[in-house]
Assembly symmetry: C2
Homo-oligomer: 531 residues x 2
């Protein structure tokens, strides 16, 4: 499959500007083939104009039609075969096994949303039938369900070139909801984007979707992002990346004449609380598990554990030694791109210069460009409590061990934490019983509370919550992973006293789609019977 | 019951400042008894500090406990008896029958939320049990449910001194969700607020709720509102009122170090499309129905129909005449307060000076202070399309008839409308069949689409959607009326690999509360069985 270098705007290719971007292979610093056309304001406008037009028909597609589209996307992605895997490996520096697994996840989540649409109950149909005899006033017939909000702009993430990118979770959720998508391609993997975008558009053609249901554009710097977020036809924005990037988009969106929601998943430090009994009993396996989680994918996960909090007692030196030796076993690893590498080098280096922080592994961090060395440091509770900089995320294989004088100290550390995607409690039964107040406190801080597992590895299912209190996400009421992610792009629409034939099938008395509905306050799949 | 003139902060009374406010009876301009203490920054801080402390226990109260609290509030409000009705009548100028009905609605919605809590499924429990054998990786056990976000600040509305005020829908929804509430009392009805707040606190004492679960404060101007919205412990804001007020709070909240959601219901013009066959066939009853809806409660409803759109044909003159005579039958009515009266006088007067607008009823608008005269005007499609000011809400008994040259013209008018709480289609079966594209278009613009009923009268039920695309509301994904309103104040929290005994009852295998849950993608009330 040849590489499309133009912007893909609906079913057309467009290259108005002479400005081009190319990808760099982070493993060797070489420029990869492909000169991708940087989009102009006119091209950005065109993508959203046709998205808006597409929305008018796409939002009325049945669940079956949208499901067929999502499944066709998965098939088209798989049909690219090894070309896609190789390109994503070259553009990300991630190993082939990881990318192959990520393709499986990407197609898996497209198919999971297709299942959700086939089943159909996700629209949350609620029916309060008329009560003409009610006193003092009759009750009118009111029915509501979730409907698509309009065109969605997706900002892709560098750390998952497939699963959080062009056809990733945000795109899958928005398309499932009935919203056309405009993807801003990531500058780190434009080739991967071009291949996947072509696959999506192939699938759109095959399944008869309207032109404009999907477009992708290339940009450099912040211009394109600004045009897309400020475009009056954009109704929501999804973003996965840094706090700075997510916050900038949030601020732009809030200042629009019509403010729109920005779902920015901005990462966090995902603290792990190691409780005393397990620290003494499982010293080495625990240390290895933690070191593996911190170093997975060169630490480039939003759920990477950047803080390990434990008690300082007679078992702590052994735990510290075990962590040091477990960290030392992990080699330096290639990072996704130059700016991520530079950020990691600088922020990890400045972290170990903070007051009271002592490097345990990796103090000598002069690795080769793009290679990140694992870094483990430690600090005392009192210094941690005084220094909010120590809880800022360092994207990469870095973790800070916080040594507390008492269980109360661990509680204090928990109490000053900012909002987090996750927190983990590592403990024996006895530990967990003794630490219930800590667990209670962590519930206030996180989107996902984990027991005796590391936070890396985000399951794509119905129960997943990937999104936590600010600043982990801009909106903790929603998840960016799992089927719940569809809710970000819909709003309830009520019909009052509407004739049956004008109602969407989901709300008709006969329940032709056989979905779960709340009728008069009770859940059922039954038809509505009028007394 | 004597009138408490201090701020009610938890179970304590507080009057740090000498500044006082009093209420004016809009029916006669007289100052009513009661000098209510204006809150200081210290008092505002205190209310939120104790709300935060209360949250830590209140969020863990069972559904039954919270339901008992809500029912006790309803009983305490009813126990105030005629004192409350009389005070609310004096402070609002609304007739006694209306206030008595509103008390019924207020207590009714508290009890409806209590029912929702008793039933318990509103927490949207989702369980994906572990699959240890899954390939290529085992699936961990993940479970999630909705949990309370934290202290909520409620801004009360003048037009519903009970149902959208101190113990109104926002307070009921937030308390039901598990969030303590701090109410900024409305300057128009401080006495009603004092009585209802005391009833809430009585109920809190009786049912053993923590101090700080409810507080109310008095303020003048914007200072108190700003302190409350900017307070770091505030986690969400609910507001019903003007666009200017709602937008100001939204902007304040977006600029906080930790941005928080503002649910502002800012009203709209609620267009009514009168289709041609019904206009000819039902001329007089339709005109009377519309005039009654525009004049209900002196037009002081967020769902008041401010636009009536019809075709200009041989039947239009008769419809216009019928509307004129129906409007003329409605007497001038007392408005809620001086500023609302002045706003109505000015904005209705300037509306009929806009290009092409002609007053049909009420051109001579020099009524007595606080008395609003019904005003009906008309304009041609072409002038309406050119002038966005003509679709701004005029709060009061005002409506603008828009005469269109063709069905396409009606469609054009619909297409330029801003987001609305509601739109209504009045039509025979034949009309509605012929106007499907218009119905489709209106779905994009509104939260509630109504057929052959006027928009005033907002049912408090499960299916109600009260909230529409911006600028009708700041967040169209939520409703401020009905049981769905609880969702504004919660967020999902996931537990991964959590021991059974540490899980909330809603998520335990045994389903001790017998609630509906989604288990492995299927809805049921069953226990979770492990294979």
């Amino acid at each position: 499959m040849s590489l499309i270098e133009q912007n893909q705007i609906g079913f057309a290719l467009s290259a108005q500007s002479d400005e081009r971007i190319s990808a760099i292979n982070p493993s060797n610093g070489e420029t990869l083939p492909g000169r991708f056309s940087v989009a102009t304001p006119t091209e950005a406008d065109k993508a959203l104009q046709i998205a808006q037009t597409a929305w008018k028909t796409y939002r009325n597609c049945s669940g079956k039609q949208k499901a067929a589209f999502l499944r066709a996307i998965a098939e088209s992605i798989e049909a690219i075969g090894d070309t896609l895997i190789q390109r994503a490996v070259q553009e990300s520096g991630l190993p082939e096994g990881r990318i192959t697994g990520e393709r499986g996840r990407t197609c898996g989540q497209l198919r999971l949303f297709a299942q959700l649409l086939d089943e159909g109950s996700w629209v949350e149909a609620v029916i309060d039938p008329a009560m003409p005899q009610r006193q003092p006033l009759p009750r009118p017939d009111i029915r509501k369900m979730l409907v698509a909000m309009g065109p969605v702009v997706v900002f892709t993430a560098s750390n998952f070139p497939l699963a959080f990118s062009t056809a990733g979770g945000d795109t899958a959720a928005a398309l499932a909801a009935g919203c056309p998508v405009v993807v801003k391609a990531h500058e780190s993997h434009p080739g991967t984007n071009a291949l996947v975008a072509a696959a999506i558009l192939n699938a759109a053609r095959k399944t008869g979707m309207p032109e404009g249901v999907f477009s992708t554009l290339y940009g450099r710097g912040n211009d394109l992002g600004k045009w897309l977020v400020e475009h009056p036809m954009t109704k929501a924005v999804a973003f996965t990346g840094s706090f700075r990037g997510g916050k900038a988009l949030f601020d732009l969106a809030a200042k629009r004449p019509e403010p729109i929601p920005v779902f920015a998943e901005m990462g966090s430090v995902n603290p792990i609380f190691v409780l005393p009994e397990i620290m003494a009993a499982q010293t080495t396996p625990l240390a290895q598990q933690l070191a593996a989680s911190v170093n997975l994918g060169a630490g480039q996960f939003c759920t990477n554990p950047g803080l390990i909090i434990c008690l300082e007692n007679e078992y702590t030196p052994a735990f510290e030694t075990a962590l040091r030796s477990a960290f030392a076993q992990h080699p330096a690893a290639t990072m996704l791109n130059k700016s991520i590498y530079e950020n990691y080098s600088q922020s990890s280096a400045s972290s170990i210069r903070e007051k009271g922080v002592k490097a345990l592994v990796g103090e000598d961090n002069n690795a080769k460009p793009f290679l990140a060395r694992p870094l483990l440091a430690k600090v005392q509770e009192k210094d941690f409590l005084k220094n909010p900089r120590l809880q800022e995320e360092i994207f990469g294989p870095f973790s800070l061990l916080v040594l507390c004088k008492s269980p109360r100290g661990m509680q204090k550390v928990a109490s000053i934490l900012q909002g987090q995607l996750t927190a983990s409690l590592m403990g024996t039964d006895k530990d967990l019983r003794a630490s219930r107040p800590l667990g209670e406190l962590l519930q206030e801080k996180v989107g996902r509370l984990i027991y005796n597992i590391v936070p890396t590895g985000v399951e794509v299912g119905h129960a997943m919550q990937h999104g936590g209190p600010y600043p982990a996400s801009t909106d903790a009421r929603f998840t960016s992973v799992g089927t719940g992610a569809i809710r970000r792009f819909v709003r309830p629409l009520a019909f009052q006293n509407c004739p049956q034939r004008l109602l969407p099938p989901e709300l008709r008395d006969s329940n032709p789609l056989r979905i779960w509905r709340m009728v008069d306050g009770l859940y059922s799949k039954k038809k509505v019977n009028h007394a």
